[in-house]
């Protein structure tokens, strides 16, 4: 195990961590407003294919990113329409959204399989910072998506916990009728939160096709959307803890292809079970502890709100 391969491991950990973090932040925002969206996998696929196809058309990765965010937000809004406006079961609508997103992405991308990328996000050049041993390559030579994820994390924390808007969002997720009585539009808040979540999932998908693996293939999201759903719980609906979880789960993704180079005789497939098993363990611990103190989960998560039936 030499220095270069260790640096490579941590560099990949940060990259994968940012990929998961973007999508998980989006899911967290939706859940904070009370909407469980199991469509992350499909929204990421839509972002990935949209980013790739628009990059082919325009050659501009930033335009592609904006398009991917818009695509994610739009398909996210579909879930919003069904669960918030029509009050449909969130679990069913979300899973259908995953199926729809994967199907649509395969349809849109059917002519682009194997095509070389039209544009890629160039790594940010931090000047002398990039030359610092270890920290340079790991932290200061990453794709713009990594810094975007960090900034989004701070903004999410600030907005949700330090502004009136954030208070309204959290109120909608804790007790919709209270939020309503306080004069907030629960429908508007929840729709906006789900759209924001979809946009971030779209950005995460675009990170795949514009930066990490610049190509389009069916199944490119490869279950990472489910990891993002898991992360929200693992991180107990707090941006900071979700970030720690994203790095930990990112490490398992980074290790998967590297175990052998490190001479570790452990199946990379068994290793890749870890994020899911850890999340289940965290959920069990949360449940045991919440006998004595309140659960970190938003109280109204998954419950449709119809003011007419208050």
């Amino acid at each position: 195990m030499n220095e270069a391969s260790l640096i490579g491991l941590f560099e990949a950990t940060v990259s994968f961590g940012a990929l998961l973090y973007l999508a998980a932040l989006g899911e967290m925002i939706a859940e904070k407003a009370g909407i469980l969206n199991l469509g992350v996998e499909g929204m990421m696929a839509m972002g990935a294919v949209t980013g790739f196809v628009v990059a082919l058309q325009t050659g501009n990765p930033w335009v592609a990113l904006v398009a991917a965010v818009a695509a994610g937000a739009m398909i996210g809004l579909l879930h919003g329409f069904f669960t918030v406006v029509l009050g449909a079961e969130q679990v069913v609508s979300g899973l259908s959204l995953t199926i729809l997103g994967l199907g649509l992405a395969a349809f849109v991308g059917r002519g682009s399989v194997g095509e070389p990328a039209g544009a890629e996000m160039v790594s940010v050049d931090w000047g002398p910072l990039s030359d610092i041993p270890w920290a340079g390559p790991i932290l200061f030579a990453q794709s713009p998506f990594v810094y975007l994820a960090v900034i989004t994390g701070f903004v999410t924390w600030f907005v949700l916990w330090r502004t009136r808007l954030g208070l309204a969002v959290r109120a909608a997720g804790e007790s919709a009728s209270t939020a309503d009585a306080a004069g907030h539009s629960v429908v508007g808040i929840r729709l906006a939160a789900v759209a924001t979540g979809g946009g971030l999932a779209g950005a995460s998908g675009a990170y795949l096709t514009l930066s990490l693996t610049p190509q389009w293939a069916d199944g490119i999201v490869a279950g990472r959307g489910w990891i993002a759903v898991a992360l929200v719980i693992f991180g107990a609906w707090r941006p900071g803890r979700v970030a720690v979880g994203a790095l930990l789960f990112g490490l398992t993704l980074a290790l998967k292809t590297r175990l052998q180079t490190f001479g570790v005789d452990f199946s990379p497939i068994l290793l890749s079970m870890l994020p899911y098993l850890l999340t289940i363990s965290v959920l069990v611990v949360i449940s045991i502890r919440s006998r004595n103190r309140p659960s970190p989960a938003p109280a109204a998560l998954g419950i449709a709100y119809r003011r007419e039936e208050r």
């Binding site: 679990v91 899973l95 199926i99 349809f107 959920l283 449940s287 039936e309």
Partner: protein, 362 residues
């Protein structure tokens, strides 16, 4: 709160529109087909020819029916698994993984008992499949029953674990030494395969129909089914009536997993020639849509499963016309979304209200 120009609200109808769910389903299907036409025309295909081909390949003749029915088996059993849990207000999102776990159980028995007489071997495989699926659901069941852990997330997470378990097996211990280093498990021996029924259909079709029928009778005509529904609608009422919620949750979730596992066993023994990581090709997730469309009723599950089987088989057939099979994936999701919307409109009507937003309508 000021007065606004007017906004639409959903107002509960005094009477639910008649025809309810089948009508909603039909509307969902119509919505899906119309959107499908747009997609097909947009990509330069003749939609009517594509739909005709889908129909012929899935429901056009006995052979087409046999393939469709084979496909309806895992969809229907997965749907039943979701519906069994759903009748008590529980969500089993883990059918995808439980199907895999069932297939692992059945494949293990097939490895051990390759020389056994066929009926004995198949019976043992299917029993092991039920056990495998039930076992995967046992953890979430205990966690939910004893400490109230949300079963949606635990069952969802175990899907990914079960798929990786199969990957690990076929890449390692169960790899066929004659597969030239491909990660493939060996083919099933002939005596491990379900007998045929007609054309391509296997007896799994009958087995699945019997299981669905049994659950249909049990849920609508027995005290057990009644208790489930009571427990599902109100935990407090159930406790008052002396129903043990803990035990009900435990048995229902494990049973639900067992039904999904059974689907995995049949899929392995009847359709797939070996266990692969794609054996449960989204059947578990499609099962959730099937159950939702059937309003968690076993009788509806069978009908919806056949229709979804037809859409899936039809979708595969149009690939030869150069049409992406993703069209059928899109259709399946759209049927559900269309049906949800129609279902809501059968119970509510849209009214424009002007002004005072605190007004309570009922």
């Amino acid at each position: 709160m000021g007065r606004r120009a007017g906004r639409p609200v959903l107002v509960r109808r005094e009477q639910v529109l008649r025809g309810g769910q089948p009508l909603a389903f039909g509307i969902g299907l119509a919505v899906a087909l119309v959107v499908g036409i747009v997609l097909l025309v947009g990509s330069g295909h003749d939609p009517m020819r594509v739909y005709e081909r889908m129909f012929e390949a899935s429901l056009g003749d006995p052979r087409a029916w046999s393939v469709t029915l084979n496909r309806a088996v895992p969809l229907g059993l997965a749907g039943l698994a979701v519906a069994v849990a759903g009748s008590m207000g529980l969500w089993n999102i883990g059918a995808e993984g439980q199907i895999m776990a069932g297939a692992v159980g059945a494949a293990w028995v097939a490895r051990v008992g390759g020389e056994w007489p066929s009926p004995l071997l198949i019976a043992a495989m299917l029993a092991a499949a039920i056990l495998g699926g039930g076992l995967l659901a046992l953890g979430p069941a205990i966690a939910r029953a004893r400490i109230g852990v949300n079963e949606i997330i635990t069952t969802l997470m175990l899907n990914e674990v079960a798929i990786r378990l199969v990957q690990w097996l076929v890449h390692g211990r169960w790899k066929d030494p004659d597969s030239h280093n491909f990660p493939l498990a060996p083919m099933l021996s002939d005596n491990a395969r379900l007998p045929g029924l007609f054309e391509r259909a296997h007896v799994g079709v009958v087995l699945a129909a019997i299981v669905i029928l049994l659950f249909g009778v049990a849920s609508s005509r027995t005290a057990w089914g009644y208790e489930l529904r009571v427990a599902g609608s109100s935990g407090a009422t159930a406790r008052y009536a002396g129903i043990s919620l803990e035990r009900k949750i435990l048995t229902v979730l494990v049973l639900s997993g067992g039904v999904a596992g059974f689907a995995g066993g049949i899929e392995l023994s009847g359709t797939s020639d070996r266990i692969t990581e794609s054996l449960s090709n989204g059947f578990g997730f499609a099962g959730i849509i099937v159950a939702a469309l059937a309003l968690m009723r076993p009788s509806g599950v069978a009908a919806v499963a056949v229709l979804f089987g037809a859409v899936q088989i039809g979708g595969q057939s149009i690939q030869t016309m150069g049409v992406s099979s993703s069209v059928s994936t899109i259709l399946q999701a759209l049927i559900l979304f269309g049906a949800i919307a129609a279902g809501v409109l059968s119970r509510y009507r849209v009214e424009m209200v002007a002004g005072d937003t605190t007004e309570v309508t009922s």
